[in-house]
Symmetry: C2
Subunit: 698 residues, 2 copies
Amino acid sequence: MAERGKGVTSGSNPIRCIHRSRGRIGNVPATQASDPGGWVRLKMNGHGEKQTTFEIGVVVPKRIVKEENEVCDCVEVLVDEFRKVGLIVESVLGLADEFIKLAAPLETLGRAAAELQIKKPTHIGMDLQFEWEEVEAFVRQPDDSLFSWCERFHCYHYLIYGISNKSKSAVTLNFDGKEFHWEVGESLLRRLEKQGIVKEVFPLHDEVKRKQLLRSWALNWCDITKQPIDEIYSYFGTKIATYFAFLGMYTRWMLFPAAFGLTLQLVDFGSMQLLVLPIFFISIILWAVSFFQFWKRKNAALLTRWKISYSVGADPRYKHLGMEWSSLQAHVELIKRLGTDKTTMKEVSQRDEWFGHLMRFRNDAIIILSIICLQLPFELAYAHLYEVIGSDVMKVGLTAVYLFAIQYFTKVGGRISVKLIKDENNESTEYRADSLVYKVFGLYFMQSYIGVFYHALLYRNFMTLRRVLIQRLIVSEVLENLLENSLPYLKYSYKKYRAVRNKKKRENGSSIGKIQFTSRVEKEYLKPAYSASIGEELEDGLFDDFLELALQFGMIMMFACVFPLAFAFAALNNVTEIRTDALKLLAILRRPIPRADATIGAWLNIFQFLIVMSICTNSALLVCLYDQEGKWRIEPGLAAILIMEHVLLLIKFGFSRFVPEEPAWVRDNRVKNATHAQDVCSKQLLRSISGRKRHLVE
Amino acid sequence: MAERGKGVTSGSNPIRCIHRSRGRIGNVPATQASDPGGWVRLKMNGHGEKQTTFEIGVVVPKRIVKEENEVCDCVEVLVDEFRKVGLIVESVLGLADEFIKLAAPLETLGRAAAELQIKKPTHIGMDLQFEWEEVEAFVRQPDDSLFSWCERFHCYHYLIYGISNKSKSAVTLNFDGKEFHWEVGESLLRRLEKQGIVKEVFPLHDEVKRKQLLRSWALNWCDITKQPIDEIYSYFGTKIATYFAFLGMYTRWMLFPAAFGLTLQLVDFGSMQLLVLPIFFISIILWAVSFFQFWKRKNAALLTRWKISYSVGADPRYKHLGMEWSSLQAHVELIKRLGTDKTTMKEVSQRDEWFGHLMRFRNDAIIILSIICLQLPFELAYAHLYEVIGSDVMKVGLTAVYLFAIQYFTKVGGRISVKLIKDENNESTEYRADSLVYKVFGLYFMQSYIGVFYHALLYRNFMTLRRVLIQRLIVSEVLENLLENSLPYLKYSYKKYRAVRNKKKRENGSSIGKIQFTSRVEKEYLKPAYSASIGEELEDGLFDDFLELALQFGMIMMFACVFPLAFAFAALNNVTEIRTDALKLLAILRRPIPRADATIGAWLNIFQFLIVMSICTNSALLVCLYDQEGKWRIEPGLAAILIMEHVLLLIKFGFSRFVPEEPAWVRDNRVKNATHAQDVCSKQLLRSISGRKRHLVE
């Protein structure tokens, strides 16, 4: 076991490099806890023994450590610093890299949470800043842990990136013979990342819980839409649990239109046939509208169960204040600096707010214009060419070119969107992510539906339309589900294979039998991350999962009258989707970085938009369907007025999204007051609450 | 000055009637303050002297008090009890009645507020329960008083109705020789009201402030739309100030479409004429949409200025928690009684919630059905008959019958609505008032517009339509404004005349010169109250004022394309409306009972609904206008589909009103937690805040 060196940061004299360590860290036995006396996050394994749960992994290259070189080895310093902040460290030697696994005793986390000023619900129902001394006043998670996974991760992040050079001069570190400086006040981990020594920091799977979830969730096909949402929440955090709760409820509700659609397909209504389609149309719209309203209720109920304070209808920026508090506080600080002169504050804040709106408006205008002027003609050209070309070979070639082109298109579009969003000075990352979602969804919307619209409205050929719809649905369901799961697995296998091959090469082919991966952490490292296909900086894999859902929803809703069977397809797909997504998250990918967002955010508005769209398209489809002879002429004048009317209705209902009801300065005022209140009374309140609790217990 | 008798309520022995008083209360000189040592709400008059502001008046009949009869005279007891709770009492003898004027020292109000558990904003920005001892911690009103008029009224009400018989047996009181019992625990004032002795309790005008407001507001015609909103707030309370702020902003914004409409009327655009109308249509819709969004912002800003805590987008039930707290608390109590079993609580709450929705749905269905089945045919019949009948005499007769019938109709409709609402178990009176507004507006909507629709859509005769619109606008503007002000004044004059005549009769015609009203309070008593024309139990005069605005808005918006000049009419009308309404409130009516509601409530939704309606009607009008030859045929099939589409769009956007996003049990949970938190920490927090303040001052 590594001896603790004298601290780099402890002396007031500039101590250049006095760290010495005798043993190699990699040799520490894997199950030996290094802080046996502390408050350790322990877990009982099957035999009643306690086992530390390591939650963060740090990857560094394998080093050939020679005795004389060991002085000031940067990895040793890093490990030492980790220990100093109170983390439990375990080193594992893999085939190609070395892995530092980190766990934190509860007290370490608690102190970090107090420094981060994380707000947590207390037993009296108020959210207060966390204080380690008053720990009894705070409500525990449904799984009886004090911190949620999201909060734990936040604390870990703060702890490991917070290690900075606190001495008065730069420290010289070396790695494999190369030397570099660790400047005063610089974060060690950031420095090592810049030097390329720390390859990655990623959250680790918790084997016990993972296996439990695999059994009770991913492989539990008998529960068709039922899922252990609370366990998912405590393992993956709020955002992913919300996604699965949504997916489950959506699938459950989907069974009704699926049954209706199937009936429509199978039963011949005879003379009633003409009446049945409008009834179907009306009922699915009502279904969709009520589904989303009930989803909001369900979401509120879930958050209450998870003890996440949240106010309905509030600005989305406040739904995850706990985490994004800092950015708001910065805003408030700015205002404070301007002095207490109320009118200046109000003016500055108003100017700021309107500038923000202007930027957002400009960006939206750019995106919308480029979608209409660049993407629309392109998509229409493809749809038209595909119809015109006779030979099948040419069609396949065209499609290949098209697929290649749209890949490139979306990549570019995503990159432009991310760049634009960076100018927007949105207050929180979740808000930025929402902004990205809106912009990129515009792209995908055009891509997915314009071809179908082309068939539907220009050709009025419903047989072709139905064929196209079936094709698209099957492609999206089978292919995407397959790709989604197999691609990461293939990537993982290839990486594994390469690692083994490199190892063999290094050992000069002197392989005796197969080389095995001994450490689980290395396997996890080789697994792909849960990342978005577009705008990785702002979103994670949930983007793709939600996108798939939204595109499917649009497809089945907008053309419901032409192809009622689609709902049955979609229901079937979603039932499998639940399990395959679960499998993907648990078995194929790394544990994702938890996100604090408590709702489905921008996607809700996108779904709502799709409902409105589907009201319009289905009306148009019904007109086409009943007016086979084309007697119902729509004069250009009438059409223009109808379009104008619809655009105005859209503006009427969409406008409140652009101009918030509450001026920014009113909001700032409120936030400032709230923070102020928190600062003043937090500790007092806490003492009284925990006093009361103790009193109750005695 | 009346000697203080020994308290009826002080002894533990059943003291039957020991109150004695020597002087007649009516003889107390009017300006003599009866509590010179206490904290009196004093006001500097012009000469630097301090003058008590009496804010509540209690009306009792004039008595002929004989010495022997004076024992246990109930009015004397009442006055005595008023003094005992700390109020300053002054008796004024009028022509027909006697008036007891009440003022309260700040301390009396403070103690009442603490007992009422009124929540007030503190200097740290948090709302806490008021405590008289920690008075320094609370933020003062913009006019530097501690309590707003609304809070003061609430306290007065609590104080004077809270006087109950605290002795162990009933007390015998007498009035003009008749004896009656004041039961144990019964409120004295309620008893006297039941006996018909206390005729009325009403808030009094504050002469100084009233004159000031008359000068700076009602008679200040130079400021076209500017109003001293803060003074209005401190004199009339939140709801009325909000109305005037809305009216001012609405009128200011109205100038733009008025100018546009005037231009359209005066300038001949030649060949562009066909393009101008759609542009006008689009711009007024955009105008209306942005106006209401910016109004919400303005409202939020006003509430911040008035230190009313309020969260944007929150359930309207929480916008006035300070006053309506009790009813919510009752709900919470109910839940607490059911035990802490979470699942039962949730279930009971859910059952309760859905039952409430069901009742509301049933009521709405009844109202809508009766409007469609009863009112619609009636209105259509009138419109049709009016067109068909040739002779003018018959037309006048028909209109007279019609006007008489609708008067009766609305009265009955209002009464039915009120009855239905009583079943709804809405949580607060303001919520009930909103429910009434929706229902009654349905009636008025049909009444006001169906005739115009009839002209517009069936006859397609735009000249007639324009004539009808002008007629209606002028009628509503001139006639209603006139009636609104002159009718109350006539009523007042008649009452005054009758009082003088009665007096003369009683004095057997021995009148020497004119009998004058010496006391201002008697004049005020004779003034009519600010009451609604319909559903007086739930609404006050604001109902009629808002109704007028909403009907005007609907009229000018829905037929904007036919008659753009209407906006100029409306703007002109509203400029006068501001001043006449002000005059009405200040000079012609009694001071209204203040209401705590902080937004325009249901009216906002009604305005929004009118915008949507006007998008549809204007589109239809444009079609009619451009399609003079009727070439644009709308086939029944197409029409049916279009109607279905619009209904579905309406459902889509209206649905969220029917099913709240947050389940009731989640809300209750939140409220319960909040109350709990308040109970626990209120006092502690306060002490720390006022400690800090004192520290800052020193």
